[in-house]
Symmetry: C2
Subunit: 316 residues, 2 copies
């Protein structure tokens, strides 16, 4: 294996920096889910993280790593989802201005959450071109630093801290299962599993209808989705040049799951474990249940990546 | 104050007996809920208890206290809700037969949960008379011992164990807030607060439309409800002769909340704390938010009594 981009010391430094700003989230177990899957499952509850998702870790780490001059001018990102809230809250905690570009059609609840954390929202038409123009204009006007939700080294390192905590709590973990969207989560998880695990393998889980990461692993180049019609709305994006090499080196496999399997897993976790998760977080659960034979009797960590569920759209 | 019916030693014995059979549930905190209420809230998560509710504690304690002869003949209860599951699961764990009388119109999901725990269901028409006849007939036929869901000393002592744990974890607690239905929960909580707390007061929370317990405290005798149209379907029942004296002695007050306040509290807990609770568990949360001035700056334990929510009837 060629050199890993980020060293163990990089991850330890990220953990030290992030620690004062995030919750060390609990790990839950469930006799029912263990019985259904046949594995020993350890759920890392990032749904209990500040603002309700792991994204807080990458966002705060990225801002902490800016220069004083950069911090004085503020940060900018585009997101209609959790990363917008994560940047807004992180920036607020660190006394930094946050510009958030959101599509006009973003749900009001997401806009008001960003506003509640002090983020300054600029709405734009819901096209990639309009979004980029808006971001470029705001950067030109204010000198703010752009932070990408997933394809950013400091975001990846920030995300790695959740898997470091999980392995510290469950040192004999044999697998960690993480959902794959833009690749920032699984890249961070895989780095921590590599540096801190005792032969702990990282496996991805992805909805079949947005299987870009699975295809990317097979073809050896970043692939894109032609359909995005999945309930796991956090997983529609594609990998990037910063996280793909890490994923190629360190992720053993990506398991594809169907939409009905995601809904079943979502229902199972909410009804039996009594925790609220978003559909993207159910994808890893669905994958472990789908491939029972592979994980039978194994100690498997599952990243419950977030809990920002739209109850109005509950599919059961 | 006249003598308390159950001594500290009774409660310690109950805790020792129950401990191997139940989860020591976690206590969650929430910066958001603290900010909204102005108090320091400690949520005792009995929604994470086995079968999803505190009822497990009283049920298992009641069965453990039977004679060998009684255990050999089995136990019987009537319930369309959590106590049916609690008796079925407790009996299964202890190798005892459980007869569960349920109304014909009980939801299929509740019946199948009881069956899943090995309970033997007998359906009856949904009237108090038919229910009693069915219970009497089963007792005559099988010699099973009846266990009441809330008006039973061993059930009350079993329930006390959750508040003992809460006070052990948060010794400086000033209040514990518990919802009031049949009175078995709050009686157990009040006993533990009295024996183990450092001047910790017990306060009840009850929906206005089923305010029988509030009226009972005022009149000095057990009062009944004429309407039962509350979303908090675990709280429709009335107090009994075993728990009412304890409540009279040890419960400082009962706070009434409206249906819209319960729904708001339910939404708040699920959206912000990311845990699934049933409407009855939201009643205590609603009470603390309603009486902000009273609890301002105080350390308040809130019993999240259960998490068996019917997602198909989610009111938001």
């Amino acid at each position: 294996m060629s050199d890993i981009i980020h060293t163990k010391e990089d991850l330890l430094r990220a953990a030290r920096m992030v620690e004062p700003y995030v919750h060390r989230t609990p790990i839950l177990t469930s006799a029912t889910l263990n019985s259904i899957s046949g594995a020993h499952l350890y759920f890392k509850c990032e749904n209990f993280q500040k603002m309700g998702a792991f994204k807080m870790r990458g966002a705060v780490h990225a801002i902490l790593n800016l220069s004083e001059d950069q911090k004085a001018k503020g940060v900018i990102t585009h997101s209609s989802g959790n990363f917008a809230q994560a940047i807004a809250l992180s920036a607020q905690m660190l006394g930094v201005k946050a510009y958030i570009v959101m599509p006009e059609n973003a749900p009001e609840v997401k806009k008001s959450a960003v506003r509640g954390y002090g983020g300054q929202i600029t709405l734009c038409p819901s096209t990639i071109e309009a979004r980029q123009e808006t971001v470029d204009r705001l950067i030109a006007d204010n000198g703010a630093t752009f932070i990408h939700p997933s394809n950013d080294d400091q975001v990846i390192l920030g995300n790695s801290t959740l898997a470091k905590e999980l392995i510290e709590d469950i040192p004999q973990l044999e697998y960690i299962m993480a959902p794959v969207g833009g690749g920032g989560l699984i890249a961070g998880v895989a780095l921590a599993a590599h540096h801190f695990g005792a032969n702990c393998k990282t496996i991805g889980a992805e909805p079949s209808v947005v299987d870009d990461a699975k295809r990317s692993l097979l073809s050896g180049k970043i692939e894109y989705n032609e359909t995005t019609d999945t309930i796991a709305d956090g997983l529609k994006t594609h990998l990037g040049d910063r996280n793909f090499p890490i994923i190629q080196q360190l992720v053993e496999d990506i398991i594809l799951v169907e939409e009905d399997e995601i809904v079943s897993a979502l229902k199972l976790v909410m009804e039996r474990m009594k925790v609220v998760i978003e559909p993207s977080a159910a994808v890893g659960v669905a994958a472990v249940i789908k491939e029972k034979e592979r994980f039978k009797g194994k100690k498997v960590g599952i990243v419950l990546c977030g809990g920002n569920l739209d109850f109005g759209k509950l599919p059961f």
